[in-house]
Symmetry: C2
Subunit: 454 residues, 2 copies
């Protein structure tokens, strides 16, 4: 056992110099994004009040590779390349012939993969003279990352945090404040969108959709001083995350293996895209046949039970219309503990991948994900974020299937973040307070009926 390598590290010089843009290679291009009023495709100018032009151009770019600015790579050096680990102790615990690898993004200062895109987003805004950013956060991972990125570039940061997470994770607020951010529980009375929700339901626990409405409004009404930053869903966000998969390709080579299956949790899609897109690129252009499996919570099953239709990205209906697998923009998912996966929709790129048969999707109930998290923690030592635990649970299912089939299979998943700020969820799990949620079909159909007509 003594010579077995468990960690595959790359030198700093191997941090990618470019992001990979799947839009260059998708067999069928992404459907257009529509203006919520005219229902006509929007152009860059329509997005200009919310995003800097550099990011808008990335959003619609068909260039296969986009250069990573040196200033961004300098920040990446604080934690990238992240390690790839072979989970030999987990394999042993599962008694599986599968080889399980995980990319560990939790080593980033913010504790998750989110800093990969927060950094360039802050950079490009700063370059265009913007002095602060507004955003929403669910689990708190994104808010933490953007707080750090804004701090690195000397910018203000205003975070609308989903109320249930704000209450469950008091120290998330503290860490964002340590980096100088202003944190507001959402829905709040600071915005019209928030006040509207509170009027309807004063006890609302919030949702990502509501918090997005608030953050978008705060930027749009700032008189051009602030812009808005989104931690997932958008094309440029998914593109930024491809540093993960690009590093994995090189690290799997160091390990002398190639994944049969790549799994990752999907809430908005950035984590899964980050590890998956560079492997999809290999499938599309180099004859590889890696299965890509997105994992969503059974309590918020956008891909597996939603409808592929045009819908708003937020709850109040302020954003453009995006064609996506959606549970309806006013769907408020149960207060499960993977706050980062409580989103009614899904990234356009992920939806097209799914619709074009380039990936699979599966939904896993909450209790199975926590059980998987504990199995993983006791084997590998790392307490995963509840979001990340969805990827672990799916990887364990793949490893068990390999065992049943009596086959060696190479499984790779993205351990997108640690759970150090999620211990209240583990506490609740140990106390037997967590349950599985399964949405009644009629509830989903009611939400579907409210989809905008296009």
């Amino acid at each position: 056992m003594s010579d077995e390598t468990v960690r595959f590290e790359l030198p700093q010089s191997e941090i990618p110099h470019q992001w990979y843009n799947i839009q260059a290679d998708l067999p069928r291009p992404l459907p257009p994004v529509l203006h919520p009023g005219t229902k006509q495709p929007i152009g860059p100018d329509d997005l200009a009040p919310l995003f800097p032009m550099a990011l808008i151009m990335q959003e619609v770019s068909r260039d296969r590779y986009i250069d990573i600015p040196e200033e961004v790579r300098e920040i990446y050096k604080l934690w990238r390349p992240t390690p790839l680990l072979r989970a030999r102790r987990l394999e042993k615990a599962l008694d599986t012939p599968a080889h399980i690898y995980y990319k560990y993004e939790g080593v980033s200062p913010s504790g998750s993969h989110k800093l990969n895109t927060a950094t360039p987003q802050a950079y490009y805004n700063k370059e265009e003279g913007i002095t602060g950013l507004t955003t929403e956060t669910g689990a708190g991972q994104w808010g933490t990352a953007l707080s750090q990125a804004c701090n690195f570039f000397g910018m203000d940061c205003f975070v609308y945090m989903v109320k249930i997470s704000y209450q469950q994770k008091p120290y998330r607020r503290a860490i964002m404040q340590a980096f100088g951010a202003d944190v507001t529980p959402s829905p709040s009375d600071k915005t019209q969108a928030g006040r509207m929700i509170l009027e309807r339901d004063p006890n609302s626990t919030g949702s990502l959709g509501i918090a997005i409405s608030e953050a978008v409004e705060a930027a749009a009404t700032s008189g051009g001083k602030y812009k808005y930053a989104l931690g997932s869903v958008l094309n440029h966000v998914l593109t930024h995350q491809t540093v993960i998969g690009q590093e994995c390709l090189k690290q799997m080579e160091l390990a002398g293996e190639y994944p049969d299956v790549v799994v990752g949790p999907i809430g908005g899609g950035s984590n899964f895209a980050g590890i998956g897109l560079p492997f999809l690129h290999q499938n599309l252009t180099a004859g590889k046949q890696t299965r890509l499996v997105g994992v969503e919570p059974a309590a918020c099953p956008s891909l597996t039970r939603g409808k592929y239709a045009y819908d708003f990205g937020d709850t109040a209906g302020m954003t453009p219309l995006v064609k996506m697998y959606t549970l309806g923009h006013d769907f408020v998912p149960a207060p499960l503990h993977a706050g980062g996966l409580r989103y009614h929709g899904m990234a356009s790129i992920i939806c097209e991948m799914y619709d074009q048969g380039l990936m699979e999707a599966t939904a896993i109930p909450q209790l199975e994900t926590f059980q998987a998290a504990i199995t993983f923690a006791r084997s590998e030592g790392i307490i995963p974020a509840p979001e990340a635990a969805h990827g672990i649970a799916a990887a364990i299912r793949e490893a068990q299937a390999a065992k049943e089939a009596g086959e060696k299979r190479v499984v790779l998943f993205n351990l997108c973040g640690h759970g150090h700020f999620d211990m209240s969820a583990y506490d609740a799990y140990f106390a037997g307070e967590l349950t599985d949620y399964e949405y009644p079909q009629e509830e989903i159909e009611r939400a579907m009926a409210a989809l905008p007509q296009v």
Copy 2:
């Protein structure tokens, strides 16, 4: 700036194969440890009820190098070698000509350097047929590490956690429980030592000394089923931590520099010894002249204001007598937020180094350490543990001295752990609730008067 390396990584093959034992090289050997009853030097048999023979032999060994068992190295591979970083962004923030390097031990699954010794301690106990370990924890770093190590080797773990930390850090308990440990706030009514303290002061917030008494008693009265594990102070613990400094020597070579000064926080001494001893070895045998600076909290100034005398390691007077710089075994330090540094005594190795003029010591007030922590976090992205912040504060003082002198100086410190479970302390700091404590001299003298007669 683009070619500047900020992280210096070693491959897994460079994890040390041996621990370095300073006892081989100390100009004057360590004073003997005395039996609390007979006041005569104790032998290995006296320690046998508490520790496995392999660790007792390491405790008294004069061998320069001690082989690291392969089973331990296998576990080390989960996070070692840890990265060495050049704090270029901090240097810029301080506008200093100093080059500041930090070794980051917070990447370990337990979040601190403590797992470096927890792992071999669990291993050697397991090898000798022990099925569980008892211990104390202050900040919770040590309890977390031992919980993980026991979990890795399938052993029970009983943690007595200083009550103030138990209250301030609810999620520390949760993470220890996630690894299967049994956690009791100390003083408790589970032991005679705990009951004695509670009788005297029912509102006692506890101390490391009290928790040690409880954990030692729990092991000693287990009928040989369990033994006791200590996270600092003892020679073998400090020896295990030398993997840190050994890796640093190689990494500083990669960086093309050699430290003028090595700083580290000192509570019991294991963190400072871990990074410092391999450099002291170079001072003693290779003509190097690196200054070694231990940093203690002004509220618990064992080296800088204590007395070098024989004293008990615990509060109840159950342990052997050790010659050390002590504030008196019944000294209960103020409830400052660096729980891991609230110890009345100090490792024998550190005390002899200090007494023999092989190192310096300084005491820093609490508010300065939190200020340093925020400066560091906003520069380097990492929220440090309050204990680790003492090292940062001292490194900043060194960097400022270099600036005043107009000299380039190479400063190295050990960032022994992250502060993800210490956000309540940061919260209190931001709320202006923290103060500086300075112990009145008469209080210290009172404690000194209670020192045992030897």
